[in-house]
Symmetry: D2
Subunit: 345 residues, 4 copies
């Protein structure tokens, strides 16, 4: 490992850095006269980089050497995350679709059947909804969970749904095949740790404000619990321009595919904020290398109470599926389709 | 209330908006031929604006009329939040100081005595620490809480400490005089609601990427539970330049003092990220109208495991206190000093 | 046109708005009792929206009615911009390639021949380089222009090169088939106006900090001079994360294709800042709907003095061309290839 | 100088770096086995850092050693910039005030007299206005310059006015005592160089999206021409929140005072975008350490054609002057007042 120390440290501040290095089993050597570039020689472990970064006397870790964190690519093959019919990574692309929130009057079984027929292997739908205002619809909660269970029973489709509070993990885990951690919860480390302990697959969304490193360290909270089934989801970050609701960071998608062995998918719906931009953003995400999509689909957007203007119709979703087949083929990836769809193509 | 609807809505989409308006007791009238500007006439309530904003058919609420949310100034006098000796708002300025985290080997009682002697009415110190990496120091937790209790017992100073998980509220509430909700938790609505239910004062920090409206709606989650003791804290937002760690948004401070009756304080330490910039930022925040400061102070920054490079010495804190007296006087505000300090000046 | 005025204006401030409206030939009518929503009835012209937006008393133009600016789609067919063999828009996709700057020792004729052979219809290469530091290489200038002229003479390829100073327009226009206005010059209105007067095609890059509306108004400066041959280029905007150099705003690409009749291309090289991310970003840009690409290509990136790490090899460029054919076909667009290439496929 | 090279360079890429180092007179030595940390020993010059940063093989300049750029503080005393009665830096604070643009019907002589009476030593007022739209008022130009000359003749106040085009430098220099380079022109290097050659004082505004380093390098373009009379102006940068028009970066002000010997002032008017926030932001800027202010003042904001909503009344300006005296005294700085004002206090 190669550290750059702050300038002008006191002797005891330098000694504190050297003491930590010794404690972690490293031999140390300064490379320069001013004692600012410190080489650590020894067997690195995933937790070492953060320990040095935490020291105020360390300006930056110039090179982590072999102290690789658990998410790092480091020559490893893709982790393939399997959830029901779906597979993400390792050359497999899967599509998740469904309404933003499970709502009153929704014919969720019909929606599930429809998106499955068109090519989705997983159904999305929020029972607990994170909201900006206390006066907004907060989700049907237990009642929503029951409807997701019905849709699963009727169609066999796997369920992805959001968990906001660690106390709900057990109940949601009864129905969900994959936990979703939303963008607003990416910094909720208690939740990350407790979801990590379940060993069930996790869809982790990037926070609106999270750097790529912060996003990967959020995944690391889950991985460090021994749960390797993490799918990263880029869903748009906050920028200075409000023409689109968020900025879909396709550069981060391309970078992540190189930096980590975890699969990466894209949520074009939240990035776009307007239904007519969902298809182009879905295509852009896949073209940048994403291993899947999560798309809001609703047969009747006018009925929707949350985020309705970004839901696409089943017809548009069918076009997105068709686009996916072409774009995935550019990288010799395969779009995983649900059984009945495969049968009829 | 005055709404601007989306263009080109279907008749049933327009009818859904009108139905909600009727349900909430409004008479409705379109002002223009294209039925895009809708006037609602009737008695507004705090929750109405969000309900209309949630509808996909509503482009924006042009004017909320008398449907004022609970945080809104709307001609109201300042809410004064009292915590031990401290008072925030209504012409009172108070200072919070202490270490970032409560750590092993800290002589927390000594630090408490020192910052109190210099002018702080409240002691800050994290027992549970929100961290970016699973491998970073996560706080002394229950042990840290015990030390905060000791410092309080020895000096009488009030305690401000962060709560990360709703399940810890009861235990932390035994010691803390004021709950801190950190920037990473501003979007954790479960936590906001449960802290709101306690009726204990809350220091709510602005999320790194939160708009002013999102910040105010986070406060609204607490206010809607009947807890009016909320102090807003601007602590720097994320920008494109990394010269300083965050951007202290003094414009937001000035705006907030006009937009809400809640007190607003500034955290210059997290915004600066470097100790030599803390004093100028503290002064800038007060000059923009803040009702107080929360400052990281540590007698020996080289010992600190988290955020050490931004802690200031007691000497610098003393200068900040002196600055505060001068700047507060520009607005005829009064800096509340702890009893022994007042006695000796 | 529909205006929203500021609240609480004085009578003379309202009268100033009404006077402007009358002067421009509109009948006016307030839609609400508080005189904040003002309807203007009459024949709109491109310049009217800005004139109202300039008034401090006008909060926003809610609807521009038929006062369409020259860049607006408004039902119009795509403008097709033709430059040599290249065509942009109206279902045509063209590729621009070449070195960042024309440099000493470059075999520019060989590069031109190579990128043309692979599929580029236009050669890029800077003779005048906008730089952040006065001590950086500022371009070969007149000498660079001479080399561009040589490359054109030898291969027949069209030339795109940047103009920084209005006083250079005539000399550069002798060689260039298309003027490039760089991101740093997007706000240089004198330059926009004078380039507009030439009637030669212009490649206008989006400023790092420009909103979509500001970008379109920069194009409007050119269009207002009667020059309709403007190609917009999204090249990445500045965000809070430095993982990639800039954020390629694919949402803006998708939006622009709907908002304007002008062609839109993407510069994946400047957005990526690292050569291995150029191909995925090129694909993402086209998948979002771009009508072309401008790519830095250099046979020997190690020789390059500016932006070398983002130049791709001819081999990678060949892959990008192959990708383009597939992605363009998704929208039934056609990639325009130079004559010899078409002959041999 | 200490360089960090890219990983995995080819031998000829490393040799290119070493060759440049030798050419500039440095001895070189790699500090590590992998040849990534390169120490350069020798006499640094201002232009060296940029030359290494330009090389694609150099990841970063870890330490510039004694290759100090001309703007760097490096232990130097403050540069004091004198313009008429005004002095900036070295313990002196000066105030610039006046209308945004010089307009028809303005009684500019009266305004000049009024702001001078209240404490401004320089009059601001745009004759050429940089605008976002081609249809907005672009300034009275030569006619505006004539009015500035009149105001100067009548009152003796110094004139600060913007130059947009190098071809106007001579004419504007006849009237202006200080050239203003606006935020939109900060990247116009031709303009910076030609203004640098005049040796007249320059007020350089930070670009909306410029990092602090980019801002300092823009100043370096002027300094490198031998013109040391540069005043830096922070005027708000672009952020994700539109509550205020721009974000006044008070952290940058505090940092700049440490990083450069050049004076730094603040423009609270453009940052705020709303007149009621101008006074708090003016105070915040001074409290962060600014050496002066530039404030839009207009006796009748309703008449103004550009940026009217951010102009303050003479009464508010008088309060800002009073605040300045108090805040400047915190740092033992002195506010320079015009002669007649000094006489009557």
């Amino acid at each position: 490992m190669l550290l750059r120390l702050q300038k002008g440290l006191l002797a005891e501040q330098v000694e504190a850095v050297l003491a930590l290095a010794r404690e972690l089993g490293y031999r140390t050597r300064f490379l320069d006269e001013r004692s600012e570039i410190l080489l650590l020689d020894g067997a690195g472990r995933p937790e070492h980089r953060s320990k040095f970064e935490d020291l105020a006397s360390v300006k930056s870790v110039l090179d982590a050497g072999d102290a690789r964190e658990r998410h790092e690519r480091d020559g490893r093959a893709d982790t393939v995350v399997r959830v029901g019919d779906a597979r993400f990574g390792g050359g497999f692309v899967s599509l998740i679709a469904g309404p933003c929130a499970v709502e009153d009057g929704d014919r969720l079984v019909d929606i599930a059947r429809e998106v499955q027929r068109l090519g989705a292997t997983l159904l999305r739908g929020g029972a607990w909804k994170p909201r900006t205002s206390p006066y907004s619809f907060q989700g049907l909660r237990a009642e929503g969970l029951a409807r997701l269970a019905e849709a699963k029973a009727a169609t066999g489709i796997g369920i992805v749904t959001e968990v906001l509070d660690p106390r709900d993990i057990a109940a949601i885990g009864e129905v969900a095949d994959m936990f979703q951690i939303g963008a607003r919860s990416m910094t909720n480390s208690t939740l990350l740790v407790e979801v990590g302990r379940t060993k069930k697959p996790v869809l982790l969304k990037r926070g609106l404000q999270a750097s790529v490193r912060e996003f990967l360290l959020a995944a690391e909270f889950i991985l460090a619990q021994g749960n390797t089934q993490v799918v990263l989801c880029e869903r748009g970050i906050r920028g200075f321009d409000t023409t689109t609701r968020n900025l879909l960071d396709v550069g981060a998608v391309a970078h992540l595919k190189r930096a980590t062995h975890l699969p990466v998918i894209v949520d074009p719906s939240h990035a776009a904020g307007r239904s007519e931009l969902v298809r182009p953003l879905a295509r852009a995400g896949l073209a940048a290398g994403a291993d899947g999509l999560i798309v809001e689909v609703h047969p009747d957007p006018s009925e929707v109470h949350s985020d309705g203007s970004q839901a696409v119709s089943p017809e548009t979703f069918a076009q997105i599926v068709a686009d996916s087949l072409v774009i995935a083929a550019l990288d010799e990836k395969r779009v995983v389709l649900p059984e009945p769809v495969r049968a009829t193509r």
